[in-house]
């Protein structure tokens, strides 16, 4: 190992740094474009709108990021969002928000717990478990509501929803605050606490984690519980602000969150990623959509661009790995002489030709 290889690694490192933080750049670019060209984008009202739109999916994305970090998948977050919304508002008229909201959130955790137990203890693939849970919950929601979406038109309900939607300062409403607190909290937790780091270890290599004395099953289960928790929080708050819970509240969230989290740079393979990145990814998409609407363009554009971005990111990641695999293990000192070697080969060919 000599300096050259070290230098090479230095360069590599800078690149990987940019790569690791690409989502912030991406966000910056999108934001800049919209700020410059989209009509009425840069009004504090509109920016607040964006933040408020972001809130639900951003909250759900926290848990989902964690799930990917431990190397699992949770397809049920969309329905958990809806479920929590329905429970939270459905029970309000009986026990008030004071009781119904905690119950809704606990329900979310409970669902997460079940997912987690089935994955960790019964050893069923999380893809299967959560896919089944998705179907099951969807049915449950329709059954308990008998097809009625739930709305509250009582003054106090409106009071709450107004409070949640109130603009404290530009960009910030109470619901946004809650989201930001959760995002910040989990970012710190995952980045700077031992337990947080352990989640990465579990996802990075389950066996290592286990051998270094971590209860990997526990970590997996906790991840699912947290995923259920954040999804539920996102759902119930959204419903409260709207003073209504529809039965397909979270339907679009799943694909939206998956795309965002991946674009944010969290890997399906586990052990990589971060909550803050996911948050900015969601923000980036919302800014994009917001701008698209401001431009007066339709969904087709929105869907198409979302697809392009996602595809680009996935391809980029795949391709860098592809390249990496091809070059890993090259000897620096040999690489140095490659050009000169090529030269010699060319001349040799030339001579052969003559």
């Amino acid at each position: 190992m000599n300096n050259d290889s070290k230098k090479g690694r230095g360069r590599e490192k800078t690149l990987t740094f940019i790569d690791r933080n690409r989502i912030f750049l991406l966000f910056g670019v999108v934001f800049l474009v919209m700020a410059l060209f989209a009509p009425r984008f840069m009004t504090s009202f509109n920016l607040t709108t964006i933040m408020r739109t972001t809130a639900m999916n951003a909250t759900a994305a926290i848990g989902f990021t964690l799930i990917l970090i431990v190397g699992q998948l949770d397809l049920s977050i969309g329905t958990i969002i809806t479920f929590a919304g329905v429970v939270g508002l459905g029970l309000k008229q009986y026990i008030g928000y004071g009781g119904s909201v905690p119950i809704a959130i606990l329900a979310g955790c409970a669902i997460g717990l079940i997912n987690g137990l089935l994955v960790a203890k019964a050893k069923i693939s999380s893809f299967i478990v959560t896919l089944g849970m998705l179907t099951l919950l969807q049915g449950a929601i329709y059954t308990i509501t008998r097809g009625n979406s739930i709305s509250l038109s009582s003054p106090d309900a409106f009071a709450v929803s107004d409070w949640l939607a109130r603009m404290i300062i530009p960009l910030i409403t109470p619901r946004v605050v809650i989201t930001l607190v959760l995002v910040g909290g989990f970012t710190v937790f995952l980045r700077l606490t031992r337990v947080g780091r352990n989640f990465y270890m579990v996802g990075g290599n389950r066996q290592t984690a286990w051998l270094s004395g971590m209860d990997t099953d526990l970590y997996t289960i906790v991840a699912f519980v947290i995923s259920g928790f954040t999804a539920a929080v996102g759902g119930v708050l959204f419903a409260m602000e709207g003073a209504a819970a529809t039965l397909n509240l979270g339907n679009t969230s799943l694909m939206y969150v998956i795309s965002a989290v991946i674009i944010g740079g969290t890997a399906m393979s586990g052990g990589k990623g971060g909550v803050l990145k996911s948050f900015f990814a969601i923000l980036m998409l919302d800014v994009l959509y917001n701008g698209i609407i401001l431009f007066g363009l339709g969904n087709e554009v929105k869907i198409f661009i979302a697809g392009i971005i996602l595809a680009a990111v996935v391809l980029y990641e795949a391709y860098t790995r592809y390249k990496h695999d091809k070059t890993v293990g090259q000897r620096a000192e040999l690489l140095k002489e490659v050009d000169e070697l090529k030269e010699r080969i060319k001349t040799a060919k030339h001579r052969a030709a003559v």
Binding site: K6, K13, R194, G203, G204, N205, T208, L211, V328, G329
Partner: protein, 502 residues
Amino acid sequence: MSDQQRVVALQMKHVTKQFPGTVAVNQVDFDVFAGEVHALVGENGAGKSTLMKMLAGSYDDYEGEIWIGDRQVNLHSPAVAKANGIAMIYQELSLASPISIAENVLVGRLPVTGLGLTDKRRIVEDAKNALERVGLGHLDPDMAIEEISQHEAQLVEIAKALWNEPGILVMDEPTSALSREEVELLFQIIERLKKEGLAIVYISHHLPEVFRIADRVTVLRDGKKIATRAVAEVSRQEVVQMMVGKSIAEFYRHESHATETETLRVENLTRFGFFHEVSFSAYEGEVLGIGGLSGAGRSELGRALVGLDEVDHGMVFLHGKRLRISSMSAAMARGIAYLTENRKSEGLALRLSLRENVLVSLVPRHTQGGVYKQSLGEPKLQELIAELSIYPPDPERMMNNLSGGNQQKVLLAKWMAIEPRVLVLDEPTRGVDIGAKSIIHKSIERLAQQGHTVLLISSDLPELVALSNRILIMREGRLIREMAKEESTEEKVLLAANGEGV
């Protein structure tokens, strides 16, 4: 070793561990003194790894007593084992590839600030120190494991184990992926640790290493303990006999079957950055050894020959005809095959059956009019199971349920099945017990006898010297030397591989 420091660090009293249907470890007594290296040898499936996993706390259902110092402990989870100062260095690397070196080394014991938050600065510092101890000071602790080479990773693994400042250190085949230099470094480290009073359990198939580093050696066979002896008082032969139960020559120089007819000729073969301008020829019935340190480009050369990696320059001739190898299947069709050095990750489909793993190489050949006839492979399969005495001889058995040695035999069988004209063997006996080893060696000889050409890439010098008719030495991606059988000795090969001597 003077008597006053003979403190018993670890004692296992008739421990037993059963798996469904087998008793992997049967009433074994085992102890280690502080400041000694106690080697544990035995064939694959003898129970070494099981015994060690027991120590690591991988099982919560073993029988018998384990004493650490003067306390009896229940090592029912890795956490407990760690808490009792037991550290393991595993054969299969136990590092998380997407995660930084630093966090892998310090896993579970990340330094924290007063606020209970992890301390980035100290993480890097500590990791650096840990790496220094194994001579990896130049590595940047922030790099992810996936960005460093395999032998670097092996050393990181060791650094990780040492960082836990264990009282008892268990090493399971720690040298399997190391170059000679690194092995030397490791041995120095071990010596130092001995002086610091560590109790070290050293598992290896590599008897020379055992005799070089160990104070005592315990032999296991079929899960039972055969004997514990002071290394000074026992000979290699005796140990081997205890291991296999009967006396066999560990190595025998086999006579050459090499002919004058050239099978393979390689001219200026080059893959930029891996190996440059390699030229040589090999002959019918020849076993052509390729020696060198790990990472010298030997495996890359082998892979390039069968088209697993594309070549940037150079030519390959088979029986005088220029070969343009586009893919491995093409190479196989021409009669060139490559046996990988990584049995588990590259060699075998552990989820599939023995039959499927062996016959996969024959699929193209046994496909007629688009229809694959498995039955055509059946006789060959039986023949190979018999020749290599693969146990259990049940073609339906899933690979994961076979012992390492038998897995390696299956891997070899896969390539013997197509009877290639040129067979490249990359570390054909890595991590394999002596019984399996000698069987594999016999098969290699048989291939040579029948006029096949074998390219033998091996870091196991005795093996290399014993089997090869000629030995090519590679160093840092270049072919630097060729040795005739007569002049080739372990020492010479070693020196050459290190770029010394003429």
